[in-house]
Amino acid sequence: MDFAFMWDAFLTLLSGVPLTLNLAFMAVGLGAVLAMLLALMRMSGLKVLDWPAQAYVFVFRGTPLLVQIFLIYYGLGQFRPTLQEWGLWVFFREPYWCAVLALTLNTAAYASEIMRGGLQSVPHNQVEAARACGMSGFLLYRRVVFPIAVRQALPAYGSEIILMVKATSLASVITMMEVTGLAAKLISQTFRAIEVFVVAGLIYLIMNFIITRIIMAIEWWLSPHLRRPPAVEPRLEAAHV
């Protein structure tokens, strides 16, 4: 093992971290909005809304992400004249936006199921109690349903975020130079697969470790009711001297 080379490789690959995190957080952020919409459609009880959402989830969870990326990046090129006419070509021309779009659509399908699970886990008696107190509509959701659902869904959502960080590596296939893209380039230049792999793997592990810790911290912060009450310090009474 050549540690000087590995240190150089580490510095090179580190420059890909901002793009990796950028892609992951763009996708997770935009995907969360879409996922919420899909989850509400699934739970609306209207077949007109439920079926399209169900079909969406089935299609995006049943096909590989790489196929979705290719379909958007290369596939939409087939409709270039139409897209240019609509002024959308500037968007689909960029591999960055294609990657963000594909990752967003993909994560929305998985996240909508997580959110639906969270929303459905809210005990009905809590909702009834809130209604009895006169809450309804948005107030009910904001004060009662969402806080409980978020707590339920957060662990699963955390692993979805980790999966997204890993999935950004596929953007390297459409020329995005994030960590995996730089690693592949470095391997093909130096033919030192093991060293580069160890360094790149370490970078991903560090990123995922930090994200897991942040999510655990949020979980802890959101569940004060599960924490042990702070022990009351036995006060030392001044001895009567």
Binding site: G62, Q68, G75, S169, I194
Partner: protein
């Protein structure tokens, strides 16, 4: 040249890519199956290490599952693809053959999938083992079964039964992961679509067809795993 209709393009006629796509879909299933089976072997060994190993083995097994689940699959595929040929080249130079020796893409892909899915399957097997009731294992020991016989008669059948849903999920992951093998040049479904798209300049049509074929494969395998689950649970009483 007249523009071919979609069905001529993906059909089985003289200008159609139908057979090529179907063969490639067969390749996808083959590489995914080999990878999945390799992963089952790895997963069983790792799960064994996690359950019955001493501190060192348990640490190694835990490290393995943590690392492999924390890094992108594409990176593992690159490692096997580039690292494998570097290793073969080094072995080859010992015997006087110099130059680049490529690893067969199929073997690379199946090994990479096996190593990654092994980490997931290890967790599935470990979870399933914990559901097997302690009493049954004690009973097996009390009638004098040795470890291997106990594994074969008592543990393996029950672990497999409880593991089927988890294995189904892993299989879906493996199937989707097999699309990544296309970067190594193995002509599976995505690679074949890429080739066809390049030579006909109809990328959307071919990637859409690939997506539909993947969907078909996942759909059929979901059905088969459900059948397997009901079959394996036929003697069990359900709490419902």
């Amino acid at each position: 040249m007249q523009q071919l209709s979609y069905f001529e393009l993906v059909g089985f006629g003289p200008n159609g890519w139908g057979w090529a796509l179907l063969t490639a879909a067969g390749m996808t299933i083959a590489v995914a199956t080999c990878g999945f089976l390799a992963g089952s072997v790895v997963g069983t060994l790792v799960a064994w290490g996690k359950i019955g190993g001493n501190v060192v083995i348990r640490g190694l097994a835990d490290g393995y599952t943590t690392v492999l689940r924390g890094i992108p699959d594409l990176l593992v595929i690159y490692l096997f693809y580039f690292g494998g040929s570097a290793a073969l080249g080094a072995i080859g130079s010992l015997f006087g053959a110099d130059g680049f020796i490529g690893v067969p893409a199929f073997a690379t892909g199946a090994m990479a999938i096996g190593i990654v899915s092994g980490a997931y399957q290890a967790e599935v097997f470990r979870g399933a083992y914990q559901v097997v009731s302690r009493g049954e294992i004690e009973a097996a020991r009390s009638v004098g079964m040795h470890r291997w016989l106990m594994f074969r008669r008592i543990i393996a059948p029950q672990v497999l039964r409880y593991a089927i849903p988890g294995l189904g999920n892993t299989w879906q992951l493996v199937l989707k992961e097999s699309a990544l093998i296309s970067v190594t040049g193995l002509v599976e479904l995505l690679r074949q679509s890429h080739i066809a798209a390049g030579s006909t300049r109809r990328p959307f049509d071919f990637y859409l067809t690939a997506a539909v074929l993947y969907l078909l494969i996942t759909w059929v395998s979901t059905y088969l795993f459900q059948r397997a689950e009901t079959h394996s649970m036929r003697g069990m009483r359900r709490a419902s």
